[in-house]
């Protein structure tokens, strides 16, 4: 009997085609891009051999902007137009941000996400982040010699929906095809786990410049399963700088500072903090524009004392994550340290004491996230070799709920649910003849709506008038593998399915992204336009190939009419793909995707049946 050859999902059908994919760590302080080259994950450097790109953007008065080291060196000179730690503003409103008073920016309070007024007009944190990501994309394309198929972009595990959506929007704005948003500690676990063939339950403690994450994972037989996650998306090395900064002002008895002086002293504070990692004492000297002179010694003792509460603040989420995972400290096999701020001795000590074991420091805490992301990007792009395979099961960090009577939250999807996850909830009307209903979606653990993050508000309209309580509206909450929420609603009694798609209030709509992209393109040369067209063409070609290969394997799953429809849609796309009508390509792609929906569903059913049958055979044999 001839053996059936089944192409496994994820395995490239054309074995020699290597798709260019990268992992990007978009950090509060530093950003990196990495890729897999000849089976090895490597960080890509700039033309001066530097792998870290400071996450700093300076918008000049002359219409140009700088990203990275050049921007960083102008911080004190032009603090208002030099944006640092923009990640802390992603998906946040002014009220969410700590220490606004010490920040030199010209904030604009708008509905939803905060904005900044710069020498080049109003910028949203999404646009600033996109400027950082664009530099990394260009760096990767120059190094790899081609257009990228896609990127895995990392986010703190504890980022909520608004922050994730903002990150994805920024990546798209930077011209990246986002294969996946990946949680930073999970990316680190991949890098660590694969390098060390680790098995067992591990904790990843990630303290970066602006965020803190703790994730508990079980590594077993090629599966990375996140059991729980916790953290604080506004706690990191920056806060230690802030404590030192306040100490300097108090000690040196300084008068109110100018923005330039404040920026400079913050930089001194950070330098002193980093210096203390290897020394018992750090000198802090500075001459201010006001003529005042700072000359202080910061000792390890004082530093430890003024930052004690920050260190303690990281341990509460650790306890919670353990409890959520149903584990005790002695069940943790190892603690992987990630993020530059974990270099601080007091952090090492606190974590070691808490877990009763020496933390694992054998990875470069600056690079491990990007390296893990690159490995995952390579897998997602379909480049994996046989046997080189793993599965990642991640969770949603914060509960999702809706507002009920009296401003209370009803939880719909609890935190730490494995994603993708969906829950449906039925609602009804409370007045006779009611034809509309307001739904308010929130995220967080607290009981009161006002204590949670508001994600989206929408109104269901066109409910057929009925007596109170007779209408049945089913609202489905779907969280995808990026941890992003979408909501759909249907009216069930009338049989008519009114669907609403909801985008979180903090996100950009597809139209907005398109118009921002277009605006960017019209400024730039024809190049950008050609690039976008070329990308669409490549994408279309890929779709044609994928469809053909699916048909070769499984055309038997379709009846004649269905097969003819798919073939017609392929033919249509083929005729437009060679032209330069971008809209025509897009619409022919959409049509083909629609035509193959049924085929995709049936192929998946078949694949699941086969794997279970295979398991049965294996069990009979054993």
């Amino acid at each position: 009997m001839a053996l059936l050859q089944i192409a496994e999902p994820g395995q490239s059908t054309a074995p020699h085609e290597h798709r260019l994919a990268v992992g990007i760590d978009l950090g509060t302080t530093n950003s990196l891009v990495a890729t897999v080259k000849s089976g090895m994950s490597v960080v890509l450097s700039d033309d001066q051999g530097r792998s870290l790109l400071p996450s700093v953007v300076q918008y000049g008065h002359d219409g140009t902007h700088e990203v990275g080291f050049n921007a960083q060196s102008r911080q004190a000179e032009d603090p208002k137009n030099t944006i640092v730690s923009v990640k802390r503003f992603m998906g946040r409103s002014l009220a969410d941000i700590a220490h606004v008073e010490t920040m030199p920016y010209d904030f604009i309070e708008t509905e939803g996400m905060i904005k900044l007024r710069t020498a080049q007009g109003v910028k949203s944190p999404v646009e600033v982040s996109a400027d950082i990501l664009r530099v990394l994309r260009e760096r990767a394309e120059a190094a790899l010699g081609g257009t990228l198929t896609g990127a895995v972009v990392t986010v703190p595990a504890y980022f909520d929906d608004a922050q994730r959506q903002a990150t994805k929007d920024a990546a798209r704005l930077a011209g990246l095809n986002v294969l996946r948003l990946l949680n930073e500690p999970t990316a680190a676990a991949i890098a660590y786990g694969l390098d060390n063939s680790a098995e067992g339950v591990y904790a990843v403690y990630d303290l970066g410049g602006g965020t803190f994450d703790i994730s508990i994972l079980r590594l077993s037989k090629g599966i990375f399963e996140v059991l729980s996650t916790g953290g604080d998306s506004a706690l990191g090395g920056d806060d230690f700088d802030q404590r030192v900064f306040c100490w300097i002002i108090e000690r040196a008895e300084l008068a109110p500072l100018s923005p330039s002086d404040a920026r400079m002293l913050l930089t001194r504070a950070r330098e002193a903090k980093e210096y203390l990692t290897g020394h018992g004492e750090a000198p802090i000297t500075a001459r201010l524009a006001s003529g005042e002179y700072v000359d202080l010694q910061l000792t390890t003792e004082i530093f430890t004392e003024i930052t004690r509460t920050l260190v303690q603040k990281t341990l509460a989420p650790v306890r919670k994550a353990l409890r959520d995972a149903g584990l005790t400290v002695d069940e943790i096999k190892g603690v992987v340290m990630v993020g530059g701020a974990t270099r601080m001795p007091q952090i090492q000590r606190a974590v070691g004491e808490f877990f009763g074991q020496q933390p694992l420091n054998n990875l470069d805490p600056d690079k491990v996230v990007a390296l893990g992301a690159a490995t995952q990007a390579n897998l997602l792009a379909g480049n994996r070799a046989a046997g080189d395979d793993w599965l990642l099961l991640d969770v949603i960090p914060l509960s999702l709920g809706i507002e009920t009577m009296g401003g209370l939250v009803e939880k719909i999807i609890p935190r730490n649910s494995t994603i993708p996850v969906a829950r449906a909830q039925e609602f009804t009307t409370f007045r006779d003849g009611q034809t509309a209903m307001a739904v308010h979606v929130v995220q967080g653990e607290r009981e009161l709506v006002s204590d949670c993050r508001s994600l989206a508000r929408f109104e269901l309209r066109g409910i057929p008038p009925m007596v109170a309580g007779a209408a049945r509206i089913r609202v489905t909450f779907q969280v995808d593998a990026d941890g992003l929420l979408s909501v759909t609603a249907r009216e069930l009694t009338s049989g008519h399915e009114a669907r609403v798609e909801v985008k979180p209030s903090y996100g950009l709509s597809d139209d907005e992204i398109a118009s921002m992209l277009k605006a960017g393109i019209s400024h730039a040369s024809d190049d950008a336009f050609r690039r976008a067209l070329r990308e669409a063409q490549v994408e279309a070609q890929r779709l044609i190939e994928a469809t053909r290969s699916a048909l070769r394997e499984d055309s038997a799953l379709l009846n004649e009419k269905e097969l003819a429809d798919v073939e017609a849609a392929v033919a249509r796309l083929q005729t437009v793909v060679i032209g330069d009508d971008r809209a025509a390509i897009d619409s022919a792609m959409a049509a083909l995707n629609k035509a193959t929906a049924e085929l995709a569903a049936r192929r998946m059913n078949q694949s699941v049946k086969r794997v279970l049958a295979g398991r049965k055979v294996e069990e009979l044999g054993s």
């Binding site: 896609g150 379909g382 649910s417 694949s607």
Partner: protein
Amino acid sequence: MLAGKAGMAEDFFALFDIPRAFAVDTGGLEIRYRDIQSRVHPDKHAHLTEADRRVAMQWATLANEAYQTLKNPLLRARYLLRLVGHETQMENNTAMAPEFLIEQMEWRESVIESREAGDIAGLETLQARLRRQTKAQYATLQADLDEKHDYAAASDMVRQLMFQEKLLHEIDDAIEAIEA
């Protein structure tokens, strides 16, 4: 809504190809869950067409829901009762044995006391005691469901266990509140 046409999606036990019973070989269930997720997870289809990616998300969502339902004994019991047409209508049927309710009140008082005293160790002792009791109740539930097929008794037990699980949760929250 999901891959319902597959037929197997309608019954989570059938989906994982395991016997429909309360007693579950959790190891075997987990292996099958991982088998299926290894095939259907969106990460395995990220490079494929939009249609493929959509199906993958729906399937992976279904597999997660099915696994979570069967893995958790309380959810599994409720699901089984639903499959045999014995819906545990929590909302309309709140008549509970008075002894049980009194015991619940006592538990609750102890939790509040320990919480107010900031007594984490006390809360943990309560939790351990409650867990032991719950374990015995699950054993009874298993007999009711798998051996006696006494679904009325099973429904009662499920209802009691929902109280107990909720209480366990509240103890967690109390510990968390003290720690914070």
